[in-house]
């Protein structure tokens, strides 16, 4: 217990701005956070779905929860049920074996719902392409609001993609 407290008060604690973060990245992260809260005024709930990725994208999505990006502090949470989700975050080339699960997850989400396709795979299958095992992307299955390219995209690009999708939701709401 004393060791834990000691580490907490030693000044290297996560809640402090990290030394490397004084630059443009940290400013952008804060701006994204403020915009998200401004648009939604509440937490954004994301259901992440791996449609056959190599797990590289999942590693970078996980990184969003670390103290540097602190995605929950920005008012974004990952939820277990699609029925609680505003946004579906899809990775992978959509394997045939995951197609049904993908469609059912989307169908279970309440409207309005957003879809963000993460990485090079959902676009056209990426390096895996289309085959007997892969659909070769998500486009023919679901309406995608934002594509985030990269293999895998770094965490800040993922945040930008989520913000861009939320921005679409806002413009859909305010337009007559």
């Amino acid at each position: 217990m004393w060791n834990i407290l000691k580490l907490m008060v030693q000044g290297t604690n996560a809640s402090e701005p990290a030394p490397q973060e004084a630059g443009a990245e940290e400013l952008e992260r804060r701006r994204i956070g403020a915009e998200l809260l401004g648009i939604l005024g509440r937490a954004l709930a994301i259901r992440q779905l791996d449609a056959g990725s190599c797990n590289g994208c999942e590693l970078e999505i996980h990184a969003l929860s670390n103290p540097y990006y602190n995605i929950e502090g920005l008012g974004i949470q990952f939820v277990a049920s699609p029925r609680h989700a505003d946004l579906l975050l899809v990775t992978g080339p959509v394997t045939h074996n995951m197609e049904t699960a993908l469609l059912r997850t989307y169908a279970a989400m309440p409207e309005p719902r957003l879809v963000v396709a993460l990485g090079d795979c959902p676009k056209n299958g990426g390096i895996f392409g289309a085959s007997y095992a892969c659909r070769g992307g998500i486009a023919r299955l679901l309406p995608v609001d934002v594509w985030v390219p990269g293999c895998p995209p770094p965490p800040l690009d993922i945040l930008r993609g989520i913000l861009a999708a939320v921005g679409r939701l806002k413009s859909a709401h305010t337009s007559p």
Partner: protein, 510 residues
């Protein structure tokens, strides 16, 4: 060497690999004698030999290195002797090869489909030469093994899990909160990578191999390049060899840091997650600065590495080793002294050493159950040969043992990284040109962070075309062991047990 009467042809010197042809009798004799002499089944794969029929191949790890045994199956013969009674992990591998190639283990007890969820016709085989693309079929039901008795009920989980997790289905049979049986159904991430290799140029295959399991991209890319370099007789410059080892150890540390944090979190200790997640992010950022990719994808290329390490980057990597070590040592003490954590870790998800040996538990999970195998120590390549690797082992076999092994492996990797970065040989990081392509067989065998990754490569058409590339993930063995590890535990401990193994779905489903 078992089967001294066979004629063995050397495939590679380091790590040592031997090739031999067997008939159906010798196939079983080899399996039995490997089992009896403490050897392990690494993997099984089949290949189409055109007019000559098919072949089934087994790779065994022995003290003499890797034995690569080919069993020819002439046209009309579609079965070979079942290895599952000797090596339980062979069962699923054989089921997968049946779906991909149409050759089956004779008399196998379990013949349920494994990778094919009804999405391609059962009489169509993706790895047969000239197979056209079939129309996808409807999803098929999977007959799980039922567990019956008073009060037994099933919990079905997946393929979409509650969290940011790869797809897979778990069927738990429970009484109250106690787990009687877990049966996994995998294959959801099956991407047809084996068939895709045949459409990939040999010198580009490392990119595909590096995306079989994103968390092990270095291990796969290295294993693929090693296989290609063995076939083409490429000499890797010493500096490139050392840099490959730097990349491999950085991948190991990154994964252990992530998992140690998640293990704390799964036991209700969010402090551990926060600290380790921060360490991991620092680690990944410096990967990006020093090597151009946070997860180190595409850094290893045929012949060497993609880019050289800048002198100032080497100094930063060294400094990071010191900083990370100090923090990991502090956290190790905290984990060890935290009664709540140890209460959750100790005796949870136990795989005893005899069971681990029987199931072929491999990699870090194997080492935590007394299976003292580590390619870095058993068949060391440069620079591991001169630096030496202190293998972390434990006999506890529980979550606590896997946590301990992970801590020790992080610290050992940091020691190795310091030695490697301090002693990097000068020179080029890839040859000026690759030697002319040639046909043949080559293997790549690398101790990834999760366990041994093996790539079997067969090049045809004067080495211009990949005839067969089989990439093996240690998860094939360890998914099976996970089903045993959870027996008798409570349902809420499953996430903790699962995370302590952290197996790859994508690497397994391929």
């Amino acid at each position: 060497m078992p089967l001294a009467n066979l004629s063995w042809r050397p495939l590679a010197e380091l790590p040592p690999m031997w090739h031999g042809n067997v008939d159906a009798d010798a196939w079983l004799v080899a399996a039995r004698s490997t089992r009896a002499s403490g050897g392990r089944l690494v993997t099984l794969w089949g290949s189409d030999r055109g007019a000559a029929g098919c072949a089934m191949t087994a790779a065994y790890a022995t003290q003499d290195g890797l034995l690569w045994l080919d069993l020819a199956l002439p046209p009309g013969q579609a079965t070979y002797p079942d290895l599952a009674p000797l090596f339980p992990a062979a069962g699923r591998m054989q089921r997968a090869q049946h779906e991909l190639l149409g050759i089956a283990a004779a008399g196998a007890v379990d013949t349920r489909p494994w990778l094919n969820h009804g999405t391609w016709p059962a009489d169509w085989f993706p790895l047969r030469e000239g197979s056209g693309l079939p129309p996808p079929g409807p999803a098929a039901d999977y007959p799980f093994v039922p567990v019956t008795g008073d009060g037994v009920h099933e919990i079905a989980v997946g393929p979409v899990h509650a969290g940011i997790i790869e797809p897979g289905h778990f069927r738990f049979s429970v009484v109250g909160e106690k787990l009687l049986r877990l049966e996994a159904r995998l294959g959801y991430a099956h991407k047809g990578i084996d068939a895709l290799f045949a459409r990939t140029a040999p010198e580009a295959g490392h990119r595909l191999a590096g995306r079989i399991s994103g968390d092990s991209t270095v291990a796969y890319a290295w294993a693929y390049c090693m296989a290609l370099e063995n076939v083409w007789h490429v000499a890797v410059p010493p500096r490139a060899q050392w840099l490959r080892a730097v990349l491999l150890e950085r991948e190991r540390v990154a994964n252990h840091l992530g998992d140690l944090g998640a293990l704390g979190n799964d036991a209700g200790f969010a402090f551990g997650l926060t600290r380790f997640a921060r360490l991991r992010e620092d680690w990944l950022r410096l990967n990006g600065t020093a090597f151009g990719h946070r997860l180190l994808m595409d850094c290893i290329v045929p012949g060497g590495v993609a880019t050289d390490l800048a002198p100032d980057a080497a100094a930063r990597l060294l400094a990071q080793c010191d900083a990370a070590e100090a923090e990991v040592l502090r956290l190790k003490t905290i984990y060890e002294e935290h009664a709540g954590l140890q209460d959750r870790f100790l005796t949870t998800g136990r795989v005893t050493p005899p069971l681990a040996a029987r199931l072929g538990l491999t990699g870090l999970a194997g080492r935590a159950s007394g299976q003292a195998f580590d390619l870095r120590a058993d068949h060391p390549l440069p620079p591991y040969d001169s630096l030496g690797t202190n293998m972390a082992t434990h006999r506890g076999g529980d979550v606590a043992a896997r946590v301990t092994v992970r801590f020790e492996e992080v610290l050992e990797s940091l020691r190795l990284l310091r030695a490697m970065l301090g002693g990097l040989p000068a020179g080029a990081v890839r040859p000026a040109a690759l030697p002319p392509a040639r046909a043949g067989l080559g293997g790549g065998w690398v101790e990834g962070w999760r366990g041994e990754v093996f790539v079997a490569l067969e090049l045809a058409a004067d080495g211009q075309r990949v005839h067969r590339c089989h990439c093996h993930d240690p998860s094939w063995h360890n998914w099976l062991a996970l089903e045993h590890a959870v027996m008798g535990n409570i349902v809420p401990d499953f996430p903790l047990i699962n995370k302590s193994f952290n197996l790859s779905y994508s690497g397994h489903d391929r």
